[in-house]
Amino acid sequence: MIVTWRISLRIAALLLAAVLLELTFFSYASVFGVAPDVVPVVVVALGLLGGAVLGAVCGFAAGLLLDTLLLQTLGVSSLVLLSIGYLAGRYREGFEISSSLTPPLLTGGLALLGAAGLAAIELMLGVDVPVSLLVLREILLKGVWAFLLAIPVYPLVRRALRPALVAGAGGRRTLAQALTPGRARRFRRAGGRRRLARGLTG
């Protein structure tokens, strides 16, 4: 992904929208007592599209915003979300996303991992809740919810960031489509194709 100022603004808007949606809508829509989390889904999508650094930075920022608005202990959500954003990005840098089911499955798995990480941190911080069936149910259902949410959210995030995408990021866009003619010329002059072939543009 080629991150310009305009793309950075789009990513910031996406994260803000995800956090607001989570706090003002999704937290009310619980099924079996568990509310879906849209923020991890967006963070994983950004990691899968933009790589490990972008995933981690976006996860950290989204977590910070979430904890700030809820007046909760700062850093808890940041730590969890930056981890899953980073892992999503590492996957993208190491493997080809060939199937359309890969992003939802990865999102479900990473959200499950994130929910388990959050549980571990909260228990370490002294939350008076035993490791009960409720906690396990919460973790599992968060994963299922994330899988279901990723089916519409991942394409939406990819669409929002389309101008910045290059081939190999799970999309069908080519380099020529991704860049404006002027930028494409500059990119080629700077040896962009060779860098792109080595997977160094993330």
Partner: protein, 290 residues
């Protein structure tokens, strides 16, 4: 070049993890106060108008979700409510005769209680956000210290007790619900006791348990709980006397257990909160931090 990229990636990751841990320990050790807490409250104040607009815009969608939930629940509640109406009619007759006796007896005994709700200044607030995890049962409301809201102010709805204010910014406040693991409310079973402490059940925050009720005390199913509102002159309950909390759904005692297991269903719909009232001001309560 590739190694440089890998070094940069690792450096960013380590930096972000360290920043998270520093924030975590700073917030945790200062319990929301100090410079980090001030910055957090300042940022929350700045962002609260955006949160408010989003909350208003998404209200129709929330109402739709609530409608589905309430319709689903209503099917099971119909028979239960019919039984409750019959029970309430019986209790109403008992209550009317008891009220007459109370009016005569009250002047004869000096009951030292925290003054009732009528002596507080209620501030109506709208719920604009809610905690999405099972770990915390908190909501954010659109009234803060500029409206006179202070930490530990009781929060109610028309149905009953909701919780108390646990943090404030200028324009918002965080309300810790009675289903949060940090909540404990001293409660009285009507009409004449006993008193106990109402807490969420460990591991299942949607169920409330009235604790410290000895097995020899008879608790009837359907009995109503109100806040006990005690004060011994040095320390006080966070809640005034007489706020309705909920109804006893079951009371069981097992051999060898020191206390009964009294399950309580809250009157207030804590999952579908839209508007709440914060009881600000009121008479001083000894030993209660404001």
């Amino acid at each position: 070049m590739y190694r440089k990229q890998v070094r940069r990636r690792r450096a960013v990751l380590v930096l972000l993890i360290v920043a998270s841990l520093v924030l975590l320990s700073a917030t945790f050790s200062q319990a929301g106060e100090g410079p980090v807490g001030s910055i957090q409250r300042g940022a929350a104040t700045v962002l609260s108008p955006v949160e408010d607009v989003a909350s208003r815009a998404l209200k129709p969608a929330r109402d739709l979700v609530n409608w589905f939930r309430e319709t689903f629940n209503a099917r099971g509640e119909n028979a239960e409510l019919k039984a409750q109406v019959q029970d309430l009619q019986r209790r109403l007759a008992q209550s009317q005769s008891a009220q007459g006796e109370l009016a005569q007896l009250r002047p004869l005994v000096r009951v030292d209680r925290i003054p009732p709700v009528s002596e507080y200044n209620p501030v109506t607030a709208r719920v604009i956000a809610r905690s999405p995890t099972v770990w915390y049962s908190t909501v954010t409301v659109d009234r803060g210290s500029s409206s006179g809201v202070e930490v530990n102010d009781p929060v109610i709805t028309g149905d009953g007790l909701v919780g108390r204010v646990s943090a404030t910014t200028r324009s918002t406040a965080q309300v810790t619900l009675i289903t949060d693991h940090r909540s404990a409310v001293s409660a009285r079973v009507l009409p004449d006791g006993p008193d106990g402490v109402l807490e969420p059940e460990a591991g299942d925050p949607s169920t409330l348990l009235l604790d410290f009720i000895s097995p020899d005390q008879k608790i009837e199913k359907g009995a109503i709980l109100v806040t006990a509102g005690w004060s011994n002159g040095q320390i006080s309950s966070k809640f005034p006397y007489g706020i309705r909390i909920g109804r006893v759904t079951s009371a069981t005692s097992s051999p060898g257990e020191a206390y009964q297991r009294v399950n309580v269903q809250a009157f207030a719909d804590l999952r579908g909160l839209d508007y709440v009232q914060i009881l600000t001001g009121g008479p001083p309560r000894p030993g209660l931090l404001k």
